[in-house]
Amino acid sequence: MSDQPLLELRNLVVSYAVWGGVFRHKVGEIRAVDDISLTLRSGETLGLVGESGCGKSTVAKTILNVVREMAPGVELGGEIRYHRERGAVNLLELRQRAMRPFRREIQMIFQDPFASLNPRQTVGQIVDAPLRIHTNQTAKERRERIRWLLERCGLQGSYIGRYPHEFSGGQRQRIGIARALAVNPKLIVADEPVSALDVSVQAQVINLMQDLQDEFGLTYLFVAHDLSVVHHIADRIAVMYLGKLVEIGEADAVYHHPKHPYSKALLSAVPQPDPNRSRAKRQLLEGEIPSPLNKPSGCVFHTRCPIAEPDCSIKVPPLEPKESGQEAACPYV
């Protein structure tokens, strides 16, 4: 791992327009990602955590420039700077064709192993797609490569002609990983890769991802809601709430000494497989996550924050360094 930045998000904003009214005009917008800046260093694993609707998956899909294609009319702001030897490129400006060379270097693993594989294609065809698009290899070479990839991901090479519905969730996720790995990418964005898996299979996939990282020097953006998993695999952790980044820092610092009141609450809510841990010390958050259509003013967390001060509803707190090494967006900790 180095300090060399590989990918930088600068003031990233992703907002979906909400249409309505008699003339179907824009009546509002949902800022799924609201002014997020973070840097992904070459070779590291950055864990991005938060609850549903906090925008973590949108961040992942925006990096791959998938959001624009999937949701026509989405508004994107800020920059996604991808660093190559010849200098940095803003991925956000690229259309599908111009983006293609970068797709070879940035790949994605999806959350739902049942939805992310085309049910009509064989495993071979699925894993072949990146090879077909990004390399000039012959069909035979590609076939060899696919077999190798499958075996490397813990599947039998003979599975090449089978269909996704013939596999279990864990095996499907391995197929997804093989596809992401096919063209030797530098960065893999993994959007909740283990949350749909059974407990006993989850560890297999985590181990596989770690092994692959060591072997190929991959950089991971690991999106998840399970803090224990993120703490295990990530070098650094970033915590999101309602489209905002509230805390970011070294994994141990964030996990063991969270600073932001939301990170604290989130961590204390995570159950531990330890019957001796006292529930009494748990800090329960009041109320529900506000609707992203009607975000609270100022600090988005102030409506549920146990230590909120009056001016929290006015001022948007910036991320600032704290003594334990991480940055947190709260002036009162």
């Binding site: 549903s52 560890a203 297999q204 695999i233 329960l284």
Partner: protein, 353 residues
């Protein structure tokens, strides 16, 4: 007989040794394309008054089907309770007439489900759905039922309950809907609450709230107990008193929460626990894994269900089905190794492996 069904009668404190609910040798099958899937095969366990019993297992372990069988809510077809007894204070629920079973549902056993999104009828108000739950079991006036509904909603922490009675389910958030489900399940003061993955669809912070609420509701009524069905070992560790571990339609291990988490006897339980990253696991280390995948219940191989994934399996495991062996201190484990160890036999085969 009828007296025993009425809610008042259940308030009598029972001795701790007498189970309030006993499941005996339950078999539930599903007729599916290409054969019969034995979702639950010979499951037996007891629920004691005042306890929280966790049934934990991965997908396909049969835990949900077992809980639906208790309520006789297995969809038929394709499901079928093939065999077994479900004794609620000595009465076999599988044998009582349908009208009596209706009284049990909601009256003596309340149930909440995984998806609060779909578990409520979208076209009726929350108020209607709550009051009908009261009025089906108790002879009360409309106004009285309404008051009970408001009270129930207040107890589960829904702000402004009188107003929200008029709302429809889709106007509630996921967490609030699960609160409504709890209110509905508990509105007739049942002594048993079956919660089938109640927090799986919810976020962690909301999950903590809901689990807390369920336990608080249990505390309010002396002698009432909860069956919590989940795949999440951590949730079990934090909420349950006793744990039943299921795998492949069978119970693999039973014990108190401390026994299960501190000295697991069954290789499957051990494997599950070891594969979880916790605060104490070394970061970035390789996690210990259970090889293979959760098996399909369609064509189980002979012998122990877990034998093809078990790191400690011996030859006997793939041939002979182990029994649920009783260990000292109300503990059970379905494993040849545990049995042999308990019988004091030194395992030669194991040494060979």
């Amino acid at each position: 007989m009828t007296d025993a069904i009425s809610p008042e009668a259940t308030d009598e404190p029972k001795t701790a040794t007498e189970p309030v609910l006993s499941v005996r040798d339950l078999h539930t099958h599903f007729r599916v394309e290409g054969g019969i899937a034995k979702a639950v095969e010979g499951v037996s366990f007891d629920l004691f008054p005042g306890e929280v019993l966790g049934i934990v297992g991965e997908s396909g372990s049969g835990k949900s089907v077992a809980s639906l069988s208790i309520m006789r809510l297995v969809p038929d077809p394709p499901g079928l309770i093939a065999k077994g007894e479900i004794l609620l204070r000595g009465r076999d629920l599988l044998k009582i007439p349908y009208e009596k079973m209706r009284k049990v549902r909601g009256g003596e056993i309340g149930m909440i489900f995984q998806e609060p999104m779909t578990a409520l009828n979208p076209v009726f108000t929350i108020g209607m759905q709550l009051t009908e739950a009261v009025r089906v079991h108790e002879k009360v006036s409309r106004a009285e039922a309404r008051d009970r509904a408001i009270e129930a909603m207040r107890q589960v922490g829904i702000p402004d309950p009188a107003e929200r009675l008029k709302d429809y389910p889709h106007q509630f958030s996921g967490g609030m809907r699960q609160r409504v489900m709890i209110a509905m399940a508990l509105i007739c003061n049942p002594s048993i609450l079956i919660a089938d993955e109640p927090t799986t669809a919810l976020d962690v912070t909301i999950q903590a709230q809901i689990l807390e609420l369920m336990l608080a509701m249990k505390e309010k009524k002396a002698g009432s107990s909860i069956i919590l069905i989940t795949h999440d070992l951590a949730v079990v560790a934090e909420t349950c008193d006793r744990v039943v571990v299921m795998y492949g339609g069978k119970i693999q291990e039973v014990g108190t929460v401390h026994q299960i988490f501190e000295e697991p006897k069954h290789p499957y339980t051990r494997g599950l626990l070891a594969s979880l990253p916790t605060a104490s696991t070394e970061r970035k280390s390789r996690l210990s894994t259970i090889p293979g995948n959760v098996p399909s219940i369609m064509n189980p191989a002979p012998g122990c269900r877990f034998s093809n994934r078990c790191p400690e399996a011996i030859d006997r495991c793939s041939v002979e089905e182990p029994v649920l062996h009783q260990l000292p201190g109300e503990r059970f484990s379905r494993c040849h190794l545990v049995e042999e160890e308990a019988l004091g036999q030194v395992d030669k085969e194991k040494a060979d492996v």
